[in-house]
């Protein structure tokens, strides 16, 4: 019962945030609504028993990436997004198609509902140490590769953003 309540509350929060992200015409507002989505998702993770991921979600996504976004937006002092001529095609087909698609997927997912599989809080807390074991034993190579990726990304960011004089 409590699960359903929490799930639906935060699901609604997430969807609302996502929609707001689309509706808002100022990047800052969009960014904040995205932060909201992420927070809501973090809670969903908690509901799914993924404590570590939830925390990391907050720290990395909300705390680092989105802050970076906000920072850039403030740095570039980005103004409102001017509404260019709306693409009629998008309005006529895009949105209905999108809705239709969502409905289709939902229907399909409901239909293959594995009724027996329920998710209980604490059924599986992604314990950090186990995740670490996975990360450093089976997924060691991808882990190292991503570390290299990060390094390259850092250097690339530095090179790109440096104001060459």
């Amino acid at each position: 019962m409590l699960h359903y309540a929490l799930f639906f509350i935060f699901a609604a929060l997430a969807v609302g945030g996502a929609l707001n992200l689309l509706i808002q015409r100022h990047p800052i507002s969009s960014a904040l609504s995205l932060v909201v989505v992420m927070g809501a998702l973090a809670v969903e993770y908690l509901l799914l028993g993924a404590e570590f991921v939830a925390a990391v979600q907050v720290i990395v996504y909300a705390g680092a990436i989105m802050v970076l976004f906000v920072f850039v937006i403030m740095l570039l002092n980005a103004g409102e997004e001017e509404r260019a001529g709306r693409s009629r095609v998008a309005l006529l087909f895009g949105l209905p198609g999108l809705v239709l698609f969502g409905v289709l997927i939902s229907w399909a997912l409901i239909r293959i509902n594995p009724a027996s599989n329920r998710v209980a809080i604490g059924a599986l807390h992604g314990p950090p140490d186990q995740i670490a074991r996975l990360l450093f034993q089976p997924f060691l190579l991808p882990f190292e590769v991503t570390s290299v990726l990060i390094l390259i990304a850092i250097m690339g960011a530095v090179v790109l953003a440096r104001r060459e004089r």
């Binding site: 800052i28 404590e51 925390a55 802050v67 140490d129």
Partner: protein, 345 residues
């Protein structure tokens, strides 16, 4: 323990902790004013009440009754959101911070802590990282160049130092092997060489401690890293346009954060509430909390002491210090610790 009792106890604990925290915040302000006064060779506030002990109350009343000016050119919702966000987040952190061991009252056994989360440390970090938004939004929403510059600096500074902060904790985590703050403290029980307490700071985390402290000062925008609110350059930085209660919120948030930092440092490096426990049962119940408070007080004192002593960094020095000193130090510390632990086992 059934749900209703759980809820009741939790509610009671939350109220209690909040009250204590706010009180601590208020009196930290007083403490700062008096100490800085002394450092600067003058009396601090001494009029209100004995030794000016009621000064915080007066300040609170003043803030409440001041006119609340909202400039016309601000982005109103965010302008309002920013201080609330800062304060609420600052206060939230206390939820996972344990101040003592377990207590039994009529068979109800509960930790001296609002809730014990498995990943408490990460929660704290997450909340502090979110706290950036408060400052950023404040600066941006109030739509004035001082604010904007201040918040820009704040963002950059906090992002940069958050890295060092996080990395400095790795060593501790390796030693204790858990994210739970309570677990970390319990990992520091006992002594070695007979008398030295088994605290992380004594177990080779001295470098980490130093890094953590610097980073934490920066996180809380305190001297010598208080560029976001550098009066001499930016009037008042990100909260230039704020007045009355909204300003008070930022103010309280800052001091709450100081407290949080102190608590965290205590828990991570100074063995939390651990300390000599003796005497009758009530004394045994109080002493840990007392030790804890003592250590936190030490950190608050340090804060103020540093503020009274050190000059402010220049911005480029700030960044350089973060990326070129603290960051490598933290990494080196993590690596060394990992190696030592690996070799020991």
């Amino acid at each position: 323990m059934d749900t209703t009792a759980f809820v009741l106890v939790s509610a009671a604990k939350t109220a209690l902790f909040l009250a204590i925290l706010l009180g601590v915040v208020a009196y930290t302000v007083l403490l700062e004013r008096k100490l800085v006064g002394r450092i600067q060779n003058r009396w601090g506030p001494s009029r209100v009440g004995p030794f000016g002990l009621l000064q915080p109350l007066a300040d609170g009343l003043k803030f409440i009754f001041k006119e609340d000016v909202t400039p016309p050119y601000v982005n109103r919702p965010l302008y309002l959101l920013a201080p609330l966000l800062s304060l609420s987040l600052a206060l939230t952190t206390i939820a996972v911070i344990p101040v003592g061991g377990w207590i039994d009252i009529k068979g109800i056994r509960t930790p001296v802590q609002i809730t014990d989360v498995g990943v408490g440390l990460l929660v704290v970090l997450g909340i502090t990282s979110i706290a950036v938004y408060g400052i950023a939004l404040a600066g941006w929403a109030s739509n004035s160049k001082y604010s904007l510059l201040g918040s820009l600096r704040a963002c950059a500074q906090m992002i940069s130092y958050e890295v060092a902060l996080g990395l400095s904790l790795i060593g501790v985590l390796i030693l204790s092997g858990t994210f739970s703050l309570r677990g970390i403290v319990e990992a520091q029980q006992g002594t070695f060489l007979g008398f030295i307490p088994n605290w992380n700071i004594f177990r080779g985390q001295i470098v980490a401690f130093f890094v953590y402290l610097c980073a934490a000062y920066a996180e809380t925008n305190r001297v010598p890293f208080d560029l976001p609110e550098a009066e001499t350059e930016l009037v008042a930085g990100y909260h230039t346009e704020y007045s009355a209660m909204k300003f008070a919120m930022f103010f309280m948030a800052e001091y709450a954060n100081m407290v949080t930092v102190g608590c965290l440092a205590t828990l991570l490096f100074l063995g939390g509430w651990l300390g000599p426990v003796f005497g009758p049962w009530w004394l045994q119940a109080i002493l840990p909390v007392f030790w804890f408070g003592l250590k936190v007080f030490f950190f608050l004192f340090l804060y103020i002491w540093v503020r009274g002593t050190l000059p402010r960094f220049r911005y480029d020095q700030l960044m350089a210090f973060s990326w070129k000193v603290l960051f490598p130090l933290a990494i080196a510390n993590a690596v060394v610790t990992a190696l030592v632990v690996a070799l020991k086992s």
